[in-house]
Amino acid sequence: MESTTILNNVEERHVEELDTVTIRFAGDSGDGMQLTGTQFTNTSAVMGNDISTLPDFPAEIRAPAGSLPGVSGFQLNFSSHDIRTPGDQPNVLVAMNPAALKVNLPDLEDGGILIVNTDAFSENNLKKAGYAISPLEDGSLQGYRLFKIPITTVNRAALRDEVKIPSKEIDRCKNFWALGLMYWLYDRPLEPTLQWISDKFGKNPEVGKANATALRAGFAYAEAAEVFTTHYRVKRAAITPGKYRKITGNEATALGFVAASVQAGRPLFYASYPITPASDILHELSLRKNFGVKTFQAEDEIAAVCAAIGASFAGNLGLTGTSGPGLALKSEAIGLAVMTELPLVIVDVQRGGPSTGLPTKTEQADLLQAMFGRNGECPVAIIAPATPGDCFHMAIEAFRIAVTHMIPVIYLSDGYLANGAEPWRLPTMDELPKFPVKLKDPVPAGTPFFPYERNPETLARSWAIPGTMGLEHRIGGIEKEDITGNVSYEPENHMHMVVTRAEKVDRIANDIADLEVFGDPSGRLLVIGWGSTYGAITSAVEEMRKDGMSVSSVHLRHLNPFPKNLGDLLGKFDRILVPELNLGQLAMLLRAKYLAPVISFPKVKGKPFKISELTAKIKEVYED
């Protein structure tokens, strides 16, 4: 439906209530789409909607303007009820240029709202996007509610006499103009963004004024020019009462590690080498020096993990963070931490692989690398957060396991969690686990000390740090004699130590919660997920259950070892479906461990599951 006609004298425009809206802002990577999306998200969160976001940006910092690889998008889902994903299909697409239209149009729902900046549809830009004829003129957009707005022109007109900044700077405000328009369309207040502008541009008030003026102008244009016949309202969501903030997975991860340090009573040492999409954790933690957090930007991935191991040996919470390629480089050193039985946490914010792969896209294909990617029998604990907010709790859990069991822990986040945001209910201090570390006490010189003597329950050795009198000892990567920790090439001892290190990991299962089933504890179909697929899987299962189907799900946050009740659960369903953003890695582990006939549902496209993809697969497997 074409809606460019301006309606005359319609005093009261129709207001329509909606449950859930999914919007995608798309433009050139220099167009400020991430900022626009973030502002809309923040405002919606403050209004009490439930939200979920999916930024989608290119790996190139500034790909050529107007080109297809340079398109940057930000999708957000806001709702009056509980939502868990950024939405399958946008209902609204804001396309700031032809390339953005070309890349994003296939995702827009049929009949969806499509807002385009017609000023950007120049011959040159059309060519760059690969359009022979302008799609605005060839009728190809008939299936959508198209709003053609010359955003650059109207933004210039609004700002020209108001602010004294160069016209190039004026044009850079057009994203705020578009945001203003969207605020009117979805009945949002301008105040949170105006406040943000005034905080952000305090030192540059003219630019601040320009952005504020653009925002107001976009809003006023939508209201006065009567482009739209309807505007929409999405009520507050009925979410658990409490105090909330919006948080991304990387922010929550960093915050969780600071919390772990506080709860363990040991300083945090974070060593990392910049890598997408993990670098934000380094940025966040480097701000937390007043918590005694030390951050170290190492010369490479190997140095980062080795410095973290050194820090652990010295009594700090040694932490390193990376993405898949970096995890590969750290393998040997992780083996050293396994051998020396030191607490260490390794964050892998997974991205598309192999090799450099798709740095800014999401994937879950490092599970088997985390599990097996080292020489020798080299087990580590593996955990994975399920949502951006859960990153906070699982970061604490990572160190709780590492220091309680004196073992390295790999924490598998991914690009989708790292950059996605959701409202996060702030936990109270007493909701957080406490696990004060007990270091080995000094002994008078000459008293024998056995560095590999073990706690009989966990098999953990003691944490004896340099600077402690009487505990001088030597550790290293050569096989250790149990108890004494001396170098040993004894055949029986090696077998014993290999088994002991495996048993140490297995015994973590005594110390983690049983899985909770979403739905009935037995039935026709069980869906098993892990990591960032939680939202899509849970929503899909919820939908199927509403349709009366006997479908349940469990979500694994502990992947090595598995929670104790997993084996029993597998026997209580006729069919088991394992959707993953890889070619079936968890499925392989489940088959190997439980001999369970699981059905793998892989997707490796650099994108998260859509709810509709999962419901379709669930139906297929259910009826099969």
């Binding site: 105090k243 957090v293 190492a298 980062a304 010295a314 700090n316 030597r474």
Partner: protein, 349 residues
């Protein structure tokens, strides 16, 4: 480095008991080949330790992989035998976490300059207050006789039956280029000189890089004999001493002069004047001369030993501690609840 020198108090109110060499000998059997130069280095370091006034529990020896890297097992201190090439990175984590510790890196020519080259230069440029002792025997010993990055051009080894075609690295040139604040060289069998250099390295606040010529009597025997042997060393080596002219020779009749950006060996008994000879200044803010000295190789020059460079610069761990202290002073000690509740929050009833 100069960490925690303390001769009067053990930190627990008790007077510090003077330790002796044996207190630094661990209960582990030393497993180097009989006749290896490593024994001499171990003995000198164990001998120097009690003189440093550092508590044994505050010492950490970190190593990588190779013959020399077995060293920590033989020291009755804290020790970490890490993985190949990575000792400087492990040591960085230890020192940055606890600046009170006296941290030592024991490494070899392959460990430090081949697989671990990257970590070495970065640990040096950060100027952590650690001591790096590089045992240079110009060969891979533990893997049984392949050439190393310091092996001479053309050398025939197990992996180069037709001769080495890589040009060797000079460890001191690398250290000076990476802005090391203390650079020295000694020889395994020059026991007193080695003790002096180790002691000086310990007292230096900042990174100390010491190359020790070490004989591998199995795979590269006599590699340094042509200049370190007792009967020739006076004419073929030169000892750098701060404030003293670069004069050498059995008869102290030869000197080193700088002319046209080039070092010359001059004959003081044959017309050259002592006033032309360079006076060594290890405190010079410029590293150029130290670099030129590092390039003096036999047979063109006498091989220099001693302290090439000893300058002051703030250390990494002090700067890091200052940032942490500064943040606490400015923002107050971290309050987790406050941090969680920061940013834009809203309440759902």
């Amino acid at each position: 480095m100069s960490t925690n020198i303390n001769t009067t108090d053990a930190g627990n109110g008790q007077p510090l008991v003077k330790l002796n060499r044996k207190d630094f000998v661990s209960d582990q059997e030393v497993r180097w080949c009989p006749g290896c130069g490593d024994y001499a280095i171990l003995a000198q370091i164990q001998k120097v330790m009690p003189e440093l006034g550092i508590k044994r529990e505050n010492m950490v020896f970190v190593s990588g992989i190779g013959c020399s890297s077995r060293f920590p097992y033989y020291m009755n201190t804290y020790g970490f035998h890490s993985i190949h090439g990575r000792a400087p990175a492990v040591a960085t984590g230890i020192k940055a976490s606890n600046p009170e510790l006296s941290v030592w890196v024991i490494t070899g020519d392959g460990d430090a300059l081949s697989i671990g080259g990257n970590h070495l230069i970065h640990a040096i440029r950060r100027n952590l207050d650690i001591n790096i002792i590089l045992f240079n025997n110009r060969i891979y010993g533990l893997t049984k006789g392949q050439y190393s990055p310091t092996s001479e051009f053309g050398k025939k080894t197990k992996s180069t039956p037709f001769g080495v075609i890589d040009y060797p690295l000079n460890p001191l040139s690398v250290a000076i280029a990476a802005e090391a604040t203390f650079v020295a060289r000694s020889v395994d069998r020059h026991t007193e000189h080695l003790q002096m250099v180790v002691e000086r390295a310990t007292k230096h606040k900042g990174v100390s890089f010491v190359e020790v010529y070490q004989n591998c009597n199995i795979f590269n025997d006599g590699a340094f004999d042509m200049f370190v042997a007792r009967d020739v060393k006076a004419d073929r080596m030169i000892e750098l001493e701060h404030g003293k002219p670069l004069i050498f020779g059995k008869d102290r009749n030869k000197g080193i002069r700088l002319r046209d950006m080039h070092l010359d060996v001059v004959d003081l008994s044959g017309g050259a004047s002592e006033s032309e000879v360079i006076v060594h200044n290890e405190k010079s803010p410029d590293s150029y001369l130290a670099y030129m000295f590092a390039r003096m190789e036999y047979p063109d020059y006498p091989v220099p030993i001693g302290v090439f460079r000893d300058v002051e610069k703030p250390t990494y761990e002090d700067l890091l501690t200052d940032q942490v202290d500064g943040a606490i002073k400015k923002m107050g000690p971290g309050n987790l609840e406050k941090l969680m509740h920061s940013g834009e929050t809203w309440v759902v009833d």
